[in-house]
């Protein structure tokens, strides 16, 4: 491949993985915006959802769409349950304490997944099956620019992610519950005085964030065609990086941060070394935090512990 084709190919690949980071990052950023907690278990919700979808689809034999929808509902319920059991009792205590609880939940879910599904990587689509959309194979590549191509699944990922992000922005901007979420992020007590059920709003935030994280998990499972218990760990860390990069608490920022991170990784993989791809994410994070702690679109800096 010639130079410009490599560049375009890496941009496409980076963009695809970037929108996945963005979808996960939204969950982190919304939760952090309201309860100022790094929800370490969020990456595990992403992983569990992929596994549930896999079980329903390749083992139970449900149609793909049904499996995906049920898995997403499961993701929401899981997120809400985690909040109810592990975070709500700790609201008002030092945030470090809630962080420990989050790490505990994360550990629990990782090991639960290992117990149920085993530690090894499993294909999402069984070897003999093939996924098609409108009779087009998901692995079909379309020529783009030069020798660069885009596969069907990449197109689907981009469309799904962008649509969901736009929907989410509209919900947050124009609906009553969206306003309540923003109000919670600005002043929890004042929001209660407005007659908002803060607990319900927070639960709703977890439900939406987890559902989006779950969608990301399924998309990635389809993209790489593999699911494993540790997949949530790195994805979670990177998505959180993306959230911070964009400015924590800011949904648009999370989206931008995710894409920026994905593309930088793609470029790093092409021009530096794929081994250092993961390190790039953290290097970017550190540089951004040191020189612009509020992130790219940040409107707030975090409070101290």
């Amino acid at each position: 491949m010639e130079g410009s084709s490599i560049l375009f190919q890496q941009l496409v690949n980076g963009l695809t993985i970037g929108v996945v980071y963005a979808l996960i990052a939204v969950g982190y950023t919304m939760v952090y915006g309201i309860i100022e907690l790094i929800n370490f278990a969020h990456g595990e919700v992403y992983m569990m959802t992929a596994f549930i979808a896999l079980t329903l689809y390749s083992i139970a034999g449900l149609p793909l769409i049904a499996a995906i929808l049920i898995a997403i509902i499961f993701a929401s319920l899981l997120g809400v349950t985690i909040e109810r059991v592990a975070y709500r009792p700790l609201r008002g205590s030092p945030r470090l304490i809630a962080l420990i609880s989050a790490i505990g939940v994360s550990l629990f879910l990782q090991n639960l997944a290992m117990k149920i599904w085993g530690a090894r990587r499993q294909p999402f689509i069984p070897p003999h099956k093939e996924i098609t959309l409108l009779n087009i194979k998901q692995t079909l590549s379309l020529p783009l620019i030069g020798e660069a191509t885009i596969t069907m699944i990449q197109i689907i990922m981009l469309i799904v992610a962008v649509t969901l992000m736009i929907l989410l922005s509209l919900v947050i901007k124009y609906t009553k519950v969206g306003r309540a979420m923003r109000a919670c992020a600005q002043d929890l007590t004042a929001t209660r005085l407005m007659g908002v059920d803060v607990n319900r709003t927070i639960a709703f935030t977890f439900a939406i964030g987890s559902a989006l994280g779950g969608v990301a998990g399924i998309l990635v499972a389809l993209y790489y065609n593999q699911v494993y218990p540790m997949m949530g760990y790195m994805a979670g860390l990177k998505a959180f990086t993306a959230a911070v990069l964009g400015g924590i608490g800011n949904v648009t920022g999370a989206f931008l941060g995710g894409i920026l991170l994905g593309v930088s990784e793609g470029l790093c993989g092409a021009y530096i070394s794929s081994l250092w791809m993961d390190a790039i994410a953290f290097a970017i994070l550190i540089i951004v935090l040191i020189y612009k702690p509020s992130g790219l679109l940040g409107e707030r800096t975090p409070r101290s512990t």
Binding site: Y32, E36, I38, V85, A86, P89, L90, S93, P94, R95, L96, I97, A98, L99, I100, S101, I103, G104, V105, S106, L107, F108, L109, Q110, N111, L112, K115, Y233, L237, F240, T241, V244, S273, L275, W276, D278, A279, F282, A283, L285, I286, L289, I290, P293, T301, P302, R303, S304, T305
Partner: protein, 362 residues
């Protein structure tokens, strides 16, 4: 009833907290030993000794008693497995105490502390395998190198606090691990470095032997731990320690008292990292093998949990927290498949019901 016994019971009644802690300590150690695999008869003997010593001794001798107890422990069994467990617990205690300087004393959240452990371990591993330096020199080098990296990490992050600082430290931790894994020329990459020589004194090796088993390592970590506790307690009560606590309580107020934030924070990083480095040097020689897998974020999280669950800032609390959490997977061996699952659950339950830790700082 003999007179001294009455007096003792009277004392127990008058200072229940003080005596309670010591009794709990002694009983705790014995129960702990049985759990990690000491034969029950020995445990009962030690338990009885503990009770008798509490009844007959004076308060100031109690620490000595505990030291004696710890010293005779490795001779109660020929089984070397549980001695390995004890040594591992010791390493974790050291790490937790070091991290406690950063989190507990100075109040800076750190999610990448294990990097210093790794840096110390790799320093020792490289120096012994390439240059065949004496382990004691390596220990020194590990401490210094880790401290330097502590400063290097601390300087650019001085302005940050709270969660952002936590994330940056996490990033540094991950970059350190990836460096261990990817800089194959230096670190051997994912294969790690093997055949690290054990420490020795005048040609007498501390390594595993038929006669001594792992006992010499055990005593070595005991001595290192003793030094750690001693130095950290002194630091805590020094002018520097007070400056750290002032920063933790209120940065602005500390500044108005004349505490130099940058200097004291950087020192806290350096000191905390130094202990991590020392623990790493020990780990490298004890394990005789280092690889990137020992320095994952998971390990940082576990050490953090030891500090928080034990009681942030409290030295005895951190020791207890580290002992419990480090031994936990071993205690739960009989249900090995579920142990980390339960581990996670217990972390959640602990912070919900005992948010200030088992033995909070007074």
């Amino acid at each position: 009833m003999p007179g001294f016994l009455i007096r003792r019971l009277d004392q127990l009644r008058k200072r229940p907290l003080f005596w309670g802690i010591w009794v709990a300590c002694l009983i705790g150690i014995t129960i702990f030993l049985t759990l990690v695999g000491m034969p029950i008869p020995y445990a009962l003997v030690i338990f009885a000794l503990a009770i008798v010593s509490i009844l007959f001794s004076r308060a100031k001798y109690l620490p000595i008693l505990i030291i004696i107890l710890l010293a005779i422990m490795p001779w109660t069994s020929q089984d070397q497995y549980w001695l390995r467990v004890l040594i591992t617990v010791g390493i974790y205690i050291m790490l937790a105490l070091g991290l406690n300087v950063i989190i507990g004393f100075t109040g800076m959240l750190d999610l990448g502390y294990i990097a210093f452990f790794g840096i110390g371990a790799y320093t020792t591993a490289l120096l012994t395998t390439h240059f065949h330096l004496s382990w004691w020199l390596c220990l020194l080098a590990s401490i210094v190198v880790a401290a330097i990296f502590g400063v290097l990490r601390g300087l650019p992050t001085l302005r940050l606090s709270g969660d952002y600082l936590a994330i940056v430290t996490l990033g540094f931790g991950e970059i350190a691990r990836m460096t261990f894994a990817n800089w194959v020329g230096l670190t051997g990459g994912p294969m790690g470095i093997r055949d690290i020589t054990p420490p020795s004194v005048f040609g007498f090796s501390f390594g595993f032997s038929a006669q001594w088993g792992y006992r010499l390592y055990y005593y070595l970590i005991l001595v290192l731990l003793g030094l750690t506790v001693l130095t950290i307690t002194n630091l805590r009560n020094s002018r520097l320690g007070r400056a750290w606590v002032a920063i933790r309580e209120d940065e602005t107020a500390a500044q108005t008292m004349g505490v130099n934030l940058s200097w004291n924070k950087t020192l806290a990083y350096a000191v905390g990292a130094a202990y991590g480095g020392a623990a790493g040097a020990f780990f490298a020689s004890f394990n005789m093998f280092v690889s990137p897998n020992s320095f994952t974020f998971f390990e940082s999280a576990i050490v953090l949990c030891m500090v928080v669950i034990g009681g942030i800032g409290s030295i005895p609390g951190v020791i207890i927290g580290a002992s419990i959490l480090a031994a936990f997977p071993e205690v739960l061996r009989f249900m090995s498949e579920y142990r980390y699952l339960i581990f996670g659950l217990i972390m959640v339950i602990m912070v919900i019901f005992k948010p200030r830790g088992i033995l909070p700082e007074r």
